[in-house]
Amino acid sequence: MTATATTPSTNRHGDEPLLSVRDLRVTFTRQGEEPFTAVDGVSFDVRPGQTVGLVGESGCGKSVTSLAIMGLLPRRGNRVEGTATFDGTDLLRLGSSEMRDRRGRDIAMIFQDPLSSLNPVVPVGLQVTEVLERHRKMSRKAATPLARDLLKRVGIPDPDRRLKDYPHQMSGGMRQRALIAMALACAPRLLIADEPTTALDVTIQAQILSLLKELVQETGTALVMITHDLGVVAGLCDEVNVLYGGRIVERGGRHELFGQPRHPYTNGLLASIPRLDAERAPLTPIPGSVSDNLPWTSACAFAPRCSQPVDVCTQRTPQLEESGSRALRCFNPVGGPR
């Protein structure tokens, strides 16, 4: 987009970004159909030890962003542009075997559904050792005690017995713990968590989140947290990127963003969370759905659902404008222009 869009937010941690995504654009092309741009010029930085959130509704491009960074999009039917620089190398330009060497070793990913993400016919222990065998070139025998320690570390009781268990013999929370153990087996420097708690009970969600927080702090792993759940963001993320229609519409530190949301979309997301302290206040949903999007080309995609649109919203494309640690893409922000 413009030059401003590609400038990273203020460097609060004071060191070089570990992952630096610039102008990431993913377009799905199908024969005989209009190409569809799922991610449209997304830029963000992740520093070592930092937790960065990507927040948005279903279909806003969160998961596609993560899959593109991991190189896990199908080989055909899509076009990936932009750069994702990890430790000096552009991941998007790496060959498939080089990328495969990095996945699981340098960058790992946790998926949404812990049951379907585990191989149903292989014992959990073997699935953990598989990663170690692959990247550390260990024998299975040597990897087994390590796998047991990993299961123990993610809080699975009786890890010796659980090593031999099949995924269906475990509870949902335990499965997600096992997946986290697999992802952390080789001590990756970056962990991408794609809605890691969506498929879990609320009580288990809290456990998994605190586990993730603990592990990230312990090991200094950078974490990209993809979620639609603002509660998760509030509890975990240092910096939050709000996505809408494939673009970042607002960015800010956790406290700033929740304290003073400036984009009407962020504001709407916060207003649609049920609150216990407000007496019987009706929930304020954001009307419409993502499918009501305008194209970004000559308008703001959020305009049809916006609570405070102005004329210019449907005439020009708003740019992402940086100010300090925050960034905003809006003509008529909440609380008036500054």
Partner: protein, 327 residues
Amino acid sequence: MSPTNPMNRRKDRIDDLAATSGGTATLVREAGTVDEKPGVSLIASAWKRLRRNPVFLIGAGITLLFVVLALVSRVIAPHDPAVGYLIDQVRPQSNPVPGPQPGFPLGADDAGRDLLSRLIVGSQQTLIVGVFATLFGLAGGMVLGILAGAFGGWVDALVMRIVDVLLSIPSLLLAFSIAALAARPSQLTVIIAVAAVQVPIFARLLRGSMLAQRHSDHVLAARALGVTERAVVFRHMLPNALGPVIVQSTLVLATSIIDAAALSFLGLGNPNDRQPEWGQMLGKAQTYIYDYPHLAVYPALCIIVVALGFTLMGESLREALDPKSRR
């Protein structure tokens, strides 16, 4: 391309079967969340239902009986099936087939050999043909199915077009053509001909369920951990894709037995009748079908009962493992 086109119907059936493997994940989920008791696996819960299914019990009973009979046939057969004990009773004009008599409860054939012993020992050949034809067909189908399912792209397209061509030829006709190519028909040529017919069925089935696995979450998760392509195919995709193939093989055992019998019946089987085989006995019995129908009835009954046993077992297995037909 109407749905009634037999070739399409066959393909649909194979693809339906393949689709059941995609459902194993949901099936396991049910088992996992409904009762969290450890050890209730897909196979355990299927077995629980099978144990009470009379259809399965009958099929498995017949199959077991037949396999045991084939294994011990040489021991329990009252006479040597190749020796013409009653040859002096055979009168080509007036009495070509000796009737039942003490020691020979079913009588003898036109060479004076004990019919009961020949039927019992014949089970051996039938089992060998059925098992090996299925194994060879399975092996060939797995190679093609893994190739197509693992590589995708043009490999998949090429393999599947070959498979489609093979599927478009009626199976028995294909088996005849292959068997007829052999200069000297033998038991082995029958096995190869029957196996060749099964290859495309297994290939299509496995490819379908491999594709379902390819897009599954756990394969994506394995890829996200940098697992090598070979491990993805052989550890993450293949074992999860095998379910419908294993079920199909029990059904194929039945068709192999029938196909092999048909080949022998038409004289494309082993010409050496010192080694009895049901299809071959049936073929020989044609000469006397009006005067001595029992010569044809016994081997035909054996073929029908055994094929029925395998089919009943296979169908009930398929039903038990198919999440869609669970009651």
